[in-house]
Each structure stands twice: as structure tokens, then as C-alpha cells.
Amino acid sequence: MALQIINAGPPPEEIADRIRAAIAQAMPEATIEVRCQGPGHFEITVTDAVFEGLSRVKQQQQVYGAITALMAGPTPAVHAVDRLECLVPGVA
């Protein structure tokens, strides 16, 4: 039997940084908050004026689109986004 190499992957804080960077690149004006909720699980809050007037699906697609690379593949760095909040600045 061949030796199985198990890649533990980068630490959660580093993945959170990569999520932040990926969103910031796609949405330069956004305020981004990423909280790690255990291995591979994250909660994200993004505040950006571009969300104004968009449906919830379209808002979330903008964020998910920015981080797809981190979520795809057989062993994705981001296993699940438990909660994604998209806010418009100044709107509660």
C-alpha cells in the first residue's frame, strides 16, 4: 500500500486572508469582514454601495463569484460559507 500524504492545508487565518484578498480584488470599494467558524467554515459580511438595488441572489453572486476558486475542486480551502451578508452602506 502506498503511503498516503494528507495535506492539512493552510491555517484558517491564512484562508480568511485569501478570502478577504479575493473579494477586495473583485470589489475594491467594499468593506469586508471574514470570520472563521471552524476548519473550512466561514462567515462573511461585505458592505458595498454596488449592492444597492440588486436582488439578494445577485448580491451574493458577486461575492461568491470572487471566491469560487477557493471553493471549487475536490479539496477546497473553503468548504462552506455558513453565512454571507451583503449590506449597502448606511442601510440597516
Binding site: 441572489v57 471566491i67 471553493m71 471549487a72 475542486g73
Partner: protein, 309 residues
């Protein structure tokens, strides 16, 4: 992340060729995850014709669809080429009624079901609520596609419909409510203690069809599936013209049909057809007929050229 051009084309073709497409885990008959099953249940309550794509049997689509739509989870619903959402969003749109407009169908009529709860059942339900309820968890009654009713204690959802009977509040999702009018909830004593006994008069039952009615329906060209549930050996001796042997392949074809398809089953005398009819009822088919007297009655009353055996 760039999506492979061929995969992009494959997905584009799928959502252009089908007005309503659900990318899911498993297929319509056997969803492989709870979220996919929930969306199937919602869609089935509104439309009969839609296309599903099983991403478990096509790994390139499993990732591809996430990149295609900028959406990280499956199931995903597309209507007229547009991404609509995943399970949460579809449940929400179903609760608000918005989904009807998206699909271009008439809203499901909200039925306020009348439910009867016997005195013994009231006591048992009150006790169950006291023990397991609270914290936003309330009594739910659900009725599935085969009209099996189930009681549970679960959080309330925005789509829930309230039914009050003898002071007991029951919550039903709109699909269950449409199947629940006239239900009686009772308790019965079993060797393992008390159990709820739910009688649902809406549950489809097997209907009878005489050979004369069958002949008239065939002559009129009525839309029906005439199924022969005997063995191939018996079929070699005698067969009703137009009947199809119910083998495995045929059964799979039938199971994929809309649940209101008229199914007419016959065997030699009616016994085996009755059993097969029960199976189709349990799969959710609502128009299931057993030909009274089977092919033997057909030989005697309709066509003496069909040999008796």
C-alpha cells in the same frame, strides 16, 4: 476562476434547451441530499415538466455549475436561462409566492384544511408539545406525495399554514395543506404503547375498470398506459392488444412519468395487478386502475380470439 470552455458550453446548452432545469444531487425520483429533495418537493407541487441534471454522476458539472453561476452550492435552479437560486432562496420564494411568477404558473390555491383531532389525540399532542416544543418549535403535520401523514415538532417557517382543531394548533406547508383536508388524527394502542393514527381521505385508492370500460377507453384513444403484469410466458399464450409487459425497463419508464398519468393494470384474474397497483399508489400515482377479472374476462366478454388458459 476560468471555466473550461466545453463545460461552459454544455451548461449553456442544458439551460437553453430546457425552460426549467435543476442541477441537483441524484435524480427526481431519488434525490441524494435533503436540500435537493426539498426543492424537488416544491417544484413537483407546481409543475410536472422540468429537467434535472445529476451532478454526482457528472463530476465536471459538480464544480462547473458553481463557477458558471458564481454560486457555491447545489441544488441550483434555472428558469428560462436565468439562475434563480438554491434551496434557501427557493423555499423563501415559495413562502412569499414569488416563485409562481418566476415559473409562470398559477399560484397553488391556499387550502385551509379541516382537521379533526379526537379527545385522546388532543391529550397526546398536548403532552408531546409540552415535552418537546417551546423555543419556537411547534407541531407540524406534513403529508407527502404518497399521502402518508407525519407529525413532528419543528421550527415554524414563513410558508406555514395554520390549522386549529379543538384548540390544537397544527402547522402545514402549503403542499401538505392541499392534501390534508378532512384528515382525522387519533391514537391507537399498540404493543409498544400509544401511537398516532392518521386517516387521510384524500389518499388515492386503486380504482376498478371493467373490460368493457377498458375497451371503450382504448377505442376512444384515451391517454392511458395499459400494463400487463403477468410473466412473458403467459403473454406468449394470450395478450390484450395495446398492453405492454411491465418489465424492469418499462417500470423505470413509468416511474418517470407525471403522477397523474392514468395507469391501467391487468394480469390473469386481477390479483397480481392489485399488488402492482398498490406499488404505483405508493410511488405517488393518483390514477391507478385494476382491470376486473384480468385477461380472462377480456377473453370471455370482449374478444374470444384471445385464448383462455
Amino acid at each position: 476562476m476560468a471555466l473550461d470552455e466545453n463545460v461552459h458550453q454544455e451548461i449553456t446548452d442544458l439551460i437553453e434547451a430546457n425552460e426549467v432545469v435543476l442541477f441537483m444531487k441524484g435524480d427526481r425520483r431519488s434525490p441524494q441530499c435533503g436540500f435537493s429533495a426539498t426543492v424537488i418537493g416544491i417544484l413537483d407541487s407546481m409543475i410536472s415538466d422540468y429537467h434535472t441534471v445529476d451532478v454526482l454522476s457528472a463530476p465536471h458539472l459538480r464544480d462547473g455549475i458553481k463557477i458558471f453561476s458564481s454560486w457555491p452550492t447545489v441544488p441550483q435552479l434555472y428558469v428560462k436561462g436565468e439562475f434563480v437560486g438554491g434551496c434557501d432562496i427557493i423555499q423563501e420564494m415559495f413562502g412569499s409566492g414569488e416563485i409562481y411568477k418566476t415559473l409562470g404558473v398559477e399560484p397553488l390555491e391556499i387550502v385551509q384544511p379541516k382537521i379533526e383531532v379526537t379527545d385522546a389525540a388532543i391529550k397526546a399532542l398536548q403532552q408531546a408539545s409540552a415535552e418537546h416544543g417551546g423555543g419556537g418549535r411547534e407541531l407540524h403535520l406534513s403529508v407527502d406525495a404518497t399521502f402518508q401523514a407525519n407529525l413532528s415538532i419543528a421550527p415554524r417557517t414563513p410558508a406555514d399554514i395554520e390549522a386549529v382543531s379543538s384548540g390544537i394548533l397544527l402547522l402545514l406547508d402549503p403542499i401538505s395543506a392541499s392534501r390534508a383536508d378532512g384528515i382525522t388524527i387519533d391514537v391507537s394502542e399498540t404493543p409498544n404503547g400509544q401511537a398516532f393514527k392518521i386517516d387521510n381521505p384524500n389518499a388515492p385508492r386503486i380504482q376498478s375498470m371493467s373490460v368493457r370500460e377498458l375497451q371503450a377507453a382504448l377505442d376512444a384513444g384515451d391517454a392511458l398506459e395499459l400494463l400487463d403484469v403477468r410473466t412473458p410466458e403467459e403473454r406468449a399464450i394470450a395478450a390484450i392488444p395495446g398492453a405492454v409487459l411491465l418489465n424492469e425497463e418499462e417500470a423505470a419508464r413509468i416511474e418517470a412519468l407525471p403522477r397523474d398519468t392514468k395507469l391501467v393494470l391487468h394480469c390473469h384474474h386481477g390479483g397480481r395487478a392489485q399488488q402492482a397497483a398498490e406499488q404505483f399508489i405508493s410511488l405517488g400515482f393518483s390514477q391507478v386502475f385494476n382491470v376486473v377479472g384480468g385477461i380472462d374476462a377480456w377473453s370471455q366478454e370482449i374478444d374470444p380470439d384471445v385464448p383462455r388458459y
